[in-house]
């Protein structure tokens, strides 16, 4: 428990850094928000007026305190494009993005770990080479391109996948009553099997495209970690003591590989949260990423900053979670660092 508190404390500087950097991005850089808010017809006077109203004429430090006070009250400003508070917009759309990322992560882990383990056991044999080829290819494909290729093959050519237009075909199905905001979970809660299947069908292609890119680092580290623990003394001893191979592999070698695997999860989350934006764009997914893209294109500052801040907080939280899980996997972590 002590460790968890220490780790929580250690996230404070990151949090502070994130808040300062997002503040700087929105305030101290070129591009005059006052002129933007005033509109193209404004003259110097009305721009100055708006600057005063927004507090942009005050010293930067003072503005920063107002910014932090607003953040603490959950006030991220108002989106120019939707007219809603940014926080409401983001909370509305976040479950869609999280649902997509979660399925992608499950897919990536589900493929990468068996692949990496297999490659390590069959070192320098066909399985290992196949794994290396898959990893190299996956790492070279931009997520958005994989997404489009999958749409072309599975929607246009084969007709297996539903039309890539959002989370649910709104003409055939109605969205389940909102509980968590994730359609597949909400459909299960509502006991609606048909909507569940429909929502899942929409998820398959985006989740796979997103997961494929995360697969490469995971498979690579799994293979390396397995190789390392397989060549260790305790595995040799376990073999020599006549333990069954499966027990040696999973209880001894694999459990010890979990720690390095969990250490690349941070990078994988960074990929997933970033590439989410691209995949949402490809599949017309109504998540925070698509929202942020339209906000960027419309110079909707408040919405973009809100999105960047929320993603950073989410990312810090996920990393925290991984670190706490790592102590459960391997108590040694608690005594180091």
């Amino acid at each position: 428990m002590n460790f968890v508190w220490k780790r929580l404390l250690a996230t404070l500087p990151s949090l502070a850094g994130v808040v300062v950097l997002t503040f700087l991005l929105s305030h101290a850089l070129p591009g005059d928000p006052a002129a933007y808010f005033a509109g193209p017809a404004a003259d110097a006077n009305s721009i100055a007026e708006i600057r005063e109203k927004l507090g942009l004429d005050r010293p930067l430090v003072e503005q920063f305190f107002y910014y932090v006070a607003d953040l603490l009250r959950g006030n991220l400003g108002k989106s120019l494009t939707t007219g809603q508070p940014v926080l409401t917009d983001l909370v509305d759309r976040l479950p869609a993005s999280l649902e997509l990322s979660a399925y992608a992560l499950v897919f990536a882990i589900g493929c990468a770990i068996p692949m990496g383990v297999l490659a390590a056991i069959r070192l320098d044999r066909p399985a290992d080479h196949a794994c290396r080829v898959i990893v190299t290819v996956c790492a070279a494909f931009p997520t958005f391109f994989i997404g489009l290729l999958l749409v072309y093959v599975f929607y246009f050519l084969l007709g297996w996948a539903p039309e890539p237009l959002g989370r649910l075909n709104e003409i055939l199905y109605t969205a389940p009553p909102r509980v968590t905001g994730a359609y597949t979970i909400d459909a299960l809660i509502a006991g609606d099997g048909e909507v569940f299947r429909a929502a899942l069908a929409q998820l398959v292609l985006p989740a796979i495209s997103l997961g494929l890119f995360a697969l490469a680092p995971l498979a690579r580290i799994t293979r390396a970690a397995m190789l390392e623990s397989l060549s260790s003394d305790f595995v040799r001893t376990a073999h020599a003591s006549g333990l069954p191979t499966s027990k040696v592999l999973f209880t001894y070698a694999f459990r010890n590989s979990l720690l390095p695997i969990s250490s690349v999860l941070g990078m994988v989350f960074s990929f997933l949260l970033g590439s989410n934006v691209l995949i949402e764009q490809v599949f017309g997914w109504q998540g925070v990423g698509a929202y942020a893209v339209s906000a960027v294109l419309a110079s909707d500052y408040a919405a973009v900053q809100g999105f960047v801040l929320m993603m950073a907080l989410l990312y810090i939280l996920l990393n925290l979670l991984v670190d706490v899980l790592a102590t459960l996997i391997d108590p040694r972590v608690r005594f180091e660092g």
Binding site: S14, V137, F145, L278, F307, V308
Partner: protein, 283 residues
């Protein structure tokens, strides 16, 4: 490492991994396109032709034409300079800035180290692509800012690497001797320490190049930076994407394939270079 050593390693690395040779081949092709682009392209990449919209690949148009009747092959070739240029400038910038910041932090220690370290931690606290989007949104939507954003998100990797390597060497005998000899701090760093960490930094840079290409293309895919009608791979893929549902695949496949080829090439080169300089690190 002596020259003879290097050539022996090169022979070994190529022999062991013939893919590196393939990568060198692709690199030559890409560089040719980047340097000679406009004179290689069979058509003007901006020339529209209302009579030849979305023509499938044929002898006249090997990659087909897009929705405005522009020749896709020409556009893919001409785009090489911009795509590689953006990624290359970003990598060079993060290399130089990261090396400077990292060496200062590693050599001077103390507050310099703490401030630089905190700065890099802050950058790494963001999902990197998201941060890049935020930077472009704040600085303004143009190509220069795409390069700056890609530079910033790559900075921590170079900076941390340089910091660790410099920190490890600052108290070694030869650095000590250089200091005793009356050299200024900057001379010790620039003449005695940094040349020793350049080779592993170069490996980082070439492994990083593919990732930089992906980032820059991703940003232009969502409509940032490059404006149409400028030929650029990411934006071409996004323009072609609307025609997938009606089956016109060539409009997005060829620019996308060019992107894959470039990333693939630099990833392989990075691996090859690593084997060449440090055969022990091969995984």
């Amino acid at each position: 490492m002596t020259f003879a050593n290097l050539t022996r390693n090169a022979g070994h690395a190529f022999g062991e991994n013939p893919l590196t040779l393939v990568a060198v081949g692709i690199l030559l092709l890409l560089l040719t396109c980047a340097l000679l682009g406009p004179s290689l392209a069979p058509y003007d990449p901006l020339m529209t032709d209302a009579t030849a919209k979305l023509v499938p690949p044929s002898m006249a148009h090997p990659f087909g034409t897009d929705a405005l009747g522009r020749d896709i092959l020409s556009r893919v070739i001409v785009a090489t300079r911009l795509d590689l240029g953006m990624a290359f400038s970003a990598v060079i910038l993060s290399f130089v800035v990261g090396l400077a910041l990292g060496s200062a932090a590693g050599y001077l220690g103390g507050w310099t180290d703490r401030i630089v370290g905190r700065l890099m931690d802050t950058i790494m606290a963001f999902p990197l692509f998201v941060l890049a989007m935020g930077i472009v949104a704040a600085l303004g939507n143009n190509v220069a800012n795409i390069i700056i954003a890609t530079m910033i998100i790559n900075l921590p990797f170079y900076c941390r690497f340089a910091r660790a390597e410099v920190n490890m060497r600052r108290d070694l005998g030869y650095a000590e001797a250089a200091r005793m000899g009356g050299n200024r701090t900057l001379t010790v760093l620039a003449v005695h320490i940094i040349p020793n960490i350049l080779p592993p930094m170069m490996v980082q840079a070439s492994l990083n190049m593919g990732w930089a290409i992906l980032n820059a293309a991703g940003l232009s895919f969502i409509g940032l930076g490059v404006r149409p009608p400028t030929p650029e791979w990411g934006i071409m893929v996004s323009e072609g994407a609307s025609f997938i549902v009606s089956g016109e695949w060539w409009a997005f496949v060829f620019p996308g394939a060019a992107l894959v080829l470039a990333v693939f090439c630099f990833n392989l080169l990075g691996d090859g270079l690593r084997d060449l300089l440090d055969p022990r690190k091969r995984v």
